[in-house]
Every structure is written in structure tokens, then in C-alpha cells.
């Protein structure tokens, strides 16, 4: 064997050795990684006591409540200003995440700069789509990382967050940090919608609302005048009116159709649980809040004749809807109304209508009570005003600011939350996006031209008690995403019959609720 061959062999051996060593190290690293992963996971699980700490923090609530069963925070007697209260926190940066709803955008653009200037607290606000916001919030709250100091909590998801102990008790926090409480911040000035963010047992606030709007009937007044008709009161009248508009709109430019509504993806099941179902007397998603079951035989109404009737009317309206309706998202039909494609929508988010008017002040949109089955109106009028889940005409929708238990800047966040939900801020969201959260602001706006034109603030002042916030389901998102979404889409696509689909939906909901321990 010559020298060069020996050298080559030696080099190969060295290379093998090197690779072998590399492989050993890599294997070692993988094993270490596995160990680290498992230990990390177990440690993560073991971190759960952090929530126990929160529970410990919550414990005195009961004591406090027993001693002072009031939800009104007593302000400090000295002269108070945000500037002075924020002095220890000047230079702090708080992170906020919300859905990019019109009120959130207006607050971010118009109110936040004033807050920053006044307090010296810097705000990093992420206004993103609902899905993104939810993913960010859940990830932060579940891991307890403390990324966010104030978060958007919608009225339908608050029960999930409270059930997991993820939110700070704002009432208690205010009692413990009186120097931070704005003496002009009156929780009793919140509309009935504010109740959606209270713990039903203690009455303590876990969120202060910054946007609240009725899901209701909106129509183009100019089209109604041209056809010489008045808003419908019953579902039958509404279907008839929609057919009239469809006939009237043939050959017009743009071609006018009979009616429109949200339909794409997850918006469709929400159209039913928030709109069509209550208008047909199927309340709280068809689930009986006492038995926590959905099927008729177990006390629910999800597969009842009323639910079937809701689908019948939906299909009648779909026949006269524009062909692009299946692509409509939350505010899709309001956009169609603004473009002149539809004359009305039976169940529209009023914030979308407000934003449309903001974009085009010449647009003549007007609000009314939603069309109902006649018996629904009787049931709503017969119930006590505060007993909204017993019967309601449609949803009272919106969201609040809460402070995650994991926030590291709770004091600065508390000042921010008050600033964004006080009367001055509510006035901004009311005028620009029809989302008032305070009674005093609604009173102020009653004589305004905006109210004369739309009738919305009168509607909210007189009839907001007829609308119901989301029912208190801790499993809200799971139920709607996995079950309602699937079966309602199957029914609408006519893959199954209406009764057959509703029976299957009610059965699956019952099984899931039972599995969850109800």
C-alpha cells in the first residue's frame, strides 16, 4: 500500500470518526432535547399553580363581597388626575390586543394619543382580525407569559376566560389601588350591556365595555320611500317585503335584490344563534340553561318546530338574496346596502351600519326592531326586564377591555382601561361606530341629527332591554365551531334535511355537554 493510499484511508477514518462523533453529539443533543422537552412540559404543567395563585387572590373577593356587597368603587377624596395617578408609571409600555372593529380603530387613532400624552404611558396596540386576536390571547393566557396588559374580551367569550381564572377582578383591583381609580369613572353609567362583564355571583367587573351595539334590522330609507313601504314587524311581513323589493329591483342599475345577510364560514352559524333563532323564539342557542341540554326531549329547543321555521324563512329569503351573499362576512350585507344591492338586512351589526354612515354621510340607513314571530314579541314583553335570557329579540353584542392575570403592568393597564371606557371615549365610539356603552352618552345623542336620521339611539334607549347578551357558556367557542358550524352549513347546503340536521345537532350538543360534566 503506497503512502498516498494510506493517507486517504487515514483521512477517511478521520472523517468517519468525525461523523461518528457528530452523530453521537447530535444523538446526545436529541436525548437532551427530549429530556428538556419532557421536563419543560412537566414544568409547564407544574406552572399551573400560578393560576392557583390567582385563585388565592380571588378568595378574598368572597370575603370582601360579604362585607361590602357593592360593585361601585369608592374614589379617593383628593384631587385626582390621570397625569398624577400615572406618575409612578411614566415611561411604562403596555401592550394591548383587540379585534380590528371600527370602535377599536377609532379609539386607537383618536383616544390613545391623548392618553399617552396625558400619562406618559406608551401603548402598543395590535388591532387584528378576530381569529388572530383570539389565538394571541389564548396563547398568552394559557402559558401565562404576560405579553399583553389589556385585552379585548367579547361578551360571549368572557365566561370561558373567567372560568379559567385568566382575568383580573377589576372591582377588587380598584378597591386595593384606590389611588388609581378615576373618581369620575361611574360603573353605574354603563348600559345594561355592562352586566355581561360581571361575575354573576360576586357582581364584580372583569371587563369594562368599550363597544356595545344591537344586532338589529337596518334598512335603506330612500328605497322604502321609493317603494312606499314601512318596516316589517313580523317575519312573514319581512319575507313578503323582500320579495317585493326583488321584483322591484329587476333591471335596475345596480340590480336590487330582496335581502342579504352574513353567510361565509363561521358567520353563518352566528347568523342563526344570534339572529334567526331568537327572532323565531329559539333562545340561548336552543339550550335550556336549567337542564343544559339542547334537544326537545331534554328540555331544549334546538330541534323544535320554531327552529325548523327559522330555517324555512331563511331559505325563503335566500331565494331573493344577491348571488354573492354566500361570500358575505360580518358586515357584508351592510356594504351591499351601501352599494345599493340590497334594501335591508333583518339582523345586522349596528357598528357596521355606523361605520358605513361614517364613510358616506349621504347614506340613509335607519334602524328598527328586528322582524319576529308574533309570539316572540309577546314572550319578550311578558318577561321581567332583567331576565333577558328568558326571551330576547336579538343579540346585544360588543366587547370590553380586561386585564389578564398574567399582566406585569396591571397598574398602568388599569389606568388605560378606565381611560378607554370612560364617558369621553364612549362618546367617540358612539358617534363614529354606533357603539355607545354609557347611558349618559346615549342621552346626549338623542337630540342629535345622527339620531334623527337613523333612529338608532332612540332604539337603544327605549328597547335595549329587549336584546340579550350571549348566554353564559364557558364552552362557547367549542360548541359553535365544532357543532353549530358543521350542521348549520350541512342544512344550508341541503346535504341533510332541516329536521334531520337539527336532530343530529341537538344530539351532539347534548353528548358534548354531558361529557363536559353538565
Amino acid at each position: 500500500m503506497n503512502n498516498s493510499k494510506k493517507k486517504m484511508i487515514k483521512r477517511e477514518i478521520s472523517r468517519r470518526e468525525a461523523l461518528s462523533t457528530g452523530a453521537k453529539i447530535a444523538t446526545g443533543a436529541v436525548v437532551a432535547g427530549v429530556a428538556a422537552g419532557v421536563v419543560g412540559y412537566l414544568a409547564g404543567t407544574a406552572v399551573a399553580p400560578v393560576r392557583t395563585e390567582t385563585v388565592t387572590e380571588v378568595k378574598p373577593i368572597t370575603v370582601t363581597v360579604a362585607a361590602t356587597p357593592t360593585t361601585t368603587v369608592t374614589p379617593t377624596p383628593t384631587v385626582w388626575s390621570y397625569k398624577e395617578a400615572a406618575r409612578p408609571y411614566r415611561g411604562t409600555t403596555i401592550r394591548v390586543v383587540t379585534e380590528n372593529t371600527p370602535p377599536a380603530v377609532f379609539l386607537k387613532e383618536e383616544v390613545v394619543p391623548k392618553f399617552e400624552e396625558e400619562t406618559g404611558i406608551r401603548v402598543e396596540w395590535e388591532a387584528v382580525s378576530w381569529g388572530d386576536m383570539y389565538a394571541k390571547e389564548i396563547t398568552d393566557l394559557e402559558a401565562g407569559t404576560g405579553v399583553y396588559d389589556a385585552i379585548y374580551v367579547e361578551q360571549d367569550i368572557i365566561y370561558t376566560y373567567m372560568g379559567r381564572g385568566w382575568l383580573t377582578d377589576l372591582t377588587l383591583f380598584g378597591e386595593r389601588n384606590r389611588a388609581l381609580v378615576d373618581p369620575n369613572f361611574d360603573v353605574n353609567d354603563f348600559t345594561a350591556f355592562g352586566d355581561a362583564f360581571k361575575d354573576p355571583i360576586t357582581g364584580h367587573y372583569y371587563g369594562y365595555p368599550y363597544e356595545a351595539f344591537l344586532k338589529t334590522y337596518w334598512y335603506r330609507e330612500d328605497y322604502y320611500e321609493q317603494l312606499g313601504v314601512k318596516p316589517a314587524e313580523t317575519m312573514d311581513e319581512f319575507v313578503e317585503l323582500s320579495r317585493k323589493f326583488y321584483e322591484w329591483g329587476r333591471g335596475k342599475t345596480p340590480e336590487v335584490y330582496g335581502c342579504g345577510f352574513q353567510m361565509i364560514g363561521i358567520t353563518l352559524p352566528y347568523l342563526f344563534v344570534e339572529g334567526f333563532f331568537p327572532a323565531h323564539g329559539v333562545y340561548t342557542w336552543g339550550i335550556n340553561l336549567n337542564t343544559m341540554r339542547a334537544s326537545v326531549e331534554k328540555g331544549g329547543t334546538l330541534n323544535s318546530d320554531r327552529a325548523v321555521k327559522a330555517f324555512e324563512n331563511f331559505f325563503k329569503l335566500l331565494e331573493v338574496a344577491p348571488p354573492e351573499t354566500p361570500t358575505f362576512s360580518w358586515g357584508g350585507n351592510v356594504d351591499a346596502m351601501a352599494a345599493g344591492r340590497t334594501p335591508h338586512g333583518p339582523f345586522e351589526y349596528s357598528e357596521a351600519a355606523g361605520a358605513a354612515i361614517q364613510r358616506d354621510p349621504a347614506l340613509r340607513l335607519r334602524a328598527a326592531l328586528p322582524p319576529l314571530l308574533p309570539e316572540v314579541k309577546k314572550e319578550v314583553l311578558a318577561r321581567p326586564k332583567a331576565d333577558y335570557w328568558k326571551a330576547y329579540v336579538n343579540y346585544y353584542d360588543g366587547g370590553a377591555f380586561s386585564i389578564p392575570y398574567s399582566s406585569r403592568n396591571k397598574e398602568a393597564a388599569f389606568l388605560f382601561v378606565q381611560y378607554m371606557t370612560r364617558k369621553e371615549a364612549s362618546r367617540v365610539t358612539a358617534i363614529k361606530a354606533f357603539a355607545p356603552t354609557r347611558k349618559s352618552v346615549i342621552e346626549e345623542l338623542l337630540p342629535s341629527d345622527l339620531n334623527k336620521k337613523t333612529g338608532y339611539f332612540t332604539l337603544i334607549k327605549e328597547y335595549d332591554w329587549m336584546y340579550g347578551p350571549a348566554p353564559p357558556f364557558r364552552e362557547h367557542k367549542l360548541l359553535i365551531e365544532r357543532f353549530y358550524d358543521k350542521w348549520i352549513h350541512k342544512i344550508v347546503a341541503k346535504e341533510v334535511g332541516v329536521k334531520e340536521g337539527l336532530d343530529a345537532l341537538a344530539k351532539e350538543i347534548d353528548e358534548m355537554l354531558e361529557a363536559l360534566g353538565y
Partner: protein
């Protein structure tokens, strides 16, 4: 001995990165897959063994999502590769305006997937979209959200529009590298275009084509953004491809257990297909070595 650790030194950054972002996260996922863990419920995580995997295998809906994902992948490959090759063969020849055509043709590649979805929502909007108006002009009513097939065709067309330029650009260098005298000789010998394509061009560009199939297959199996914008998985749940299903389950249902199990199954299928494709690309060498 002096250079014993040199190769390892250079490999260390990539190995570390692979371990940190590729391997370590796999273990919590493996762990989660064994639990009933729905975050947005007050029920604590419960160990259920392999139940999540059993539920996936027996769930007809999940089977459907896998089915339409593979159907899309097959149709994408069957349409995009011949089209991409055809345009590449056209671009090999010199003609007036070739550069301009090439530039415009490649434009969709530079557009973000989300923007692609938005563009096609506008293009296909019933009655008002330019394409639907064009179709209406020739007497065809097209509402892409009317049924599964219309939505599926819309997704397929969008995908072809976006990715055919990639195939063309990837095949162009391979076609240019074929010695012109071989093609010329075959013509002189009386070979038709089809015969030249079959016996000379395709065998020469076999490896790049297989690589393209490999890349496009992986891409299509994980298709999400543009479909999410265009159809949202609808109408109904009909275009809920497997990646959309995973996102819905993990983000909106917060079902970490089921989603983890589903992710592992998709990962397993993807690795298997990768291995198969690599084996084919290397001409069976991997099989021989093992």
C-alpha cells in the same frame, strides 16, 4: 487529529437549529396527542392514550378533508406541469416580446398568498367580478361559492395562475441546457415534435420535473392562506383542506389534543411522501443503500 472537529464545527449551527425548531417541539406535540385537552373549557387535560388517533381514523369528516387535499394535489400536478412545460418550451425560442411576456407571466410568483386570495375574491365576485362578467358575456353563469365543485375549480384556477410560472422558470434552465444539435438531429431524422419531446426532452429534464413535483406536492398538501381568503373552507365545510381543518381546530376550537394527533398524522404522511419522492429522484439508490 487537528481537523477532527472541523466538520462538526461547521455542521453545529444547522444541527442545533434543526434540533431546536424541528425536533424539540415535536415532543410536546406527541405528549399533547395523548390527552383530551381543550383549552377554552374548564375541564383539565385528561390522559386518553391513543383515543385521539382512533377518532381521527374513524372520523368521516377528517377522511373527507384528506381526500379533497389529495385530489387537489393530484389535479394541481396534472395541470400545472404540462402547462408550465408548454410555456417553458415556448420561451426557449426567441420571439418578439419574449422578455416582456416572461416578466408579466412571472408576476404572480411575487404576490403574497393572502393577496392572491384577495385578488381572486375580487376577480370571481358573482356578477361584479371581471371574470364572472366575462363568463356572463359568453352566456355562462358562474358563482364560485354555489357548490363544492365551483369552489374547488376556483381554487384550482387560482393555484394554476399562481404556480405555473414557477414550473416554467424552474424548467427553463434545464431546457436551455439540452444541446440544440441533438434536437436538430432528431428533426433531420424525421422525428415529430411529440417523439422529440418523449424520447429526448423529457428524459433529459426528468430530474428537475421530479424535484418540481416534490416541491409542489408539499406545497399543495399544506395549502392554506389563499383558500382561507377565497372560500374560508366553504361553501359549508366543503373546501376545508386538511391544513384549514388543523387551524380551525387548534385556534378556534382550542382542541390541542386532537389537533396535535392530526398534525402528527399529516407529518407522517408528508415524510413518507418525501421519502418516496427522494427515492425516485435518486433512482432507487436510497433503497439499495439500506
Amino acid at each position: 487529529m487537528k481537523y477532527k472537529f472541523t466538520p462538526l464545527f461547521f455542521l453545529l449551527p444547522s444541527i442545533s437549529l434543526l434540533i431546536i425548531i424541528g425536533i424539540i417541539p415535536l415532543f410536546p406535540i406527541l405528549w399533547e396527542a395523548l390527552y383530551l385537552h381543550i383549552v377554552a373549557t374548564p375541564v383539565p387535560p385528561t390522559f386518553i392514550g391513543l383515543d385521539n388517533f382512533r377518532n381521527i381514523v374513524t372520523d368521516p369528516d377528517t377522511g373527507y378533508y384528506f381526500g379533497i387535499t389529495f385530489l387537489l394535489a393530484a389535479l394541481v400536478l396534472l395541470t400545472e406541469i404540462p402547462l408550465g412545460l408548454g410555456v417553458a418550451l415556448l420561451l426557449v425560442r426567441k420571439f418578439r416580446g419574449r422578455e416582456i411576456f416572461q416578466t408579466f407571466f412571472a408576476l404572480p410568483l411575487g404576490i403574497a398568498p393572502i393577496a392572491v386570495g384577495c385578488i381572486w375574491v375580487l376577480v370571481l365576485r358573482p356578477e361584479v367580478g371581471p371574470l364572472t362578467r366575462l363568463l356572463a358575456f359568453i352566456g355562462m353563469e358562474f358563482n364560485y361559492m354555489a357548490s363544492f365543485w365551483t369552489a374547488f375549480i376556483a381554487i384550482l384556477i387560482m393555484n394554476i395562475w399562481r404556480w405555473t410560472p414557477f414550473i416554467t422558470l424552474a424548467l427553463l434552465p434545464a431546457l436551455v441546457s439540452i444541446p440544440p444539435d441533438i434536437v436538430e438531429s432528431s428533426r433531420i431524422d424525421g422525428a415529430t415534435f411529440v417523439k422529440t419531446l418523449r424520447h429526448i426532452i423529457l428524459p433529459t429534464i426528468k430530474t428537475p420535473i421530479l424535484t418540481i413535483i416534490f416541491i409542489r406536492l408539499m406545497d399543495t398538501l399544506s395549502i392554506f392562506d389563499e383558500v382561507w381568503i377565497l372560500t374560508g373552507g366553504g361553501p359549508g365545510w366543503s373546501t376545508r383542506f386538511i391544513s384549514i381543518d388543523i387551524v380551525r381546530r387548534v385556534i378556534f376550537e382550542t382542541d390541542y389534543g386532537f389537533s396535535s394527533a392530526l398534525t402528527l398524522i399529516v407529518l407522517y404522511i408528508t415524510i413518507s411522501i418525501c421519502w418516496l419522492m427522494l427515492t425516485i429522484i435518486k433512482g432507487g439508490k436510497l433503497v439499495e443503500e439500506s
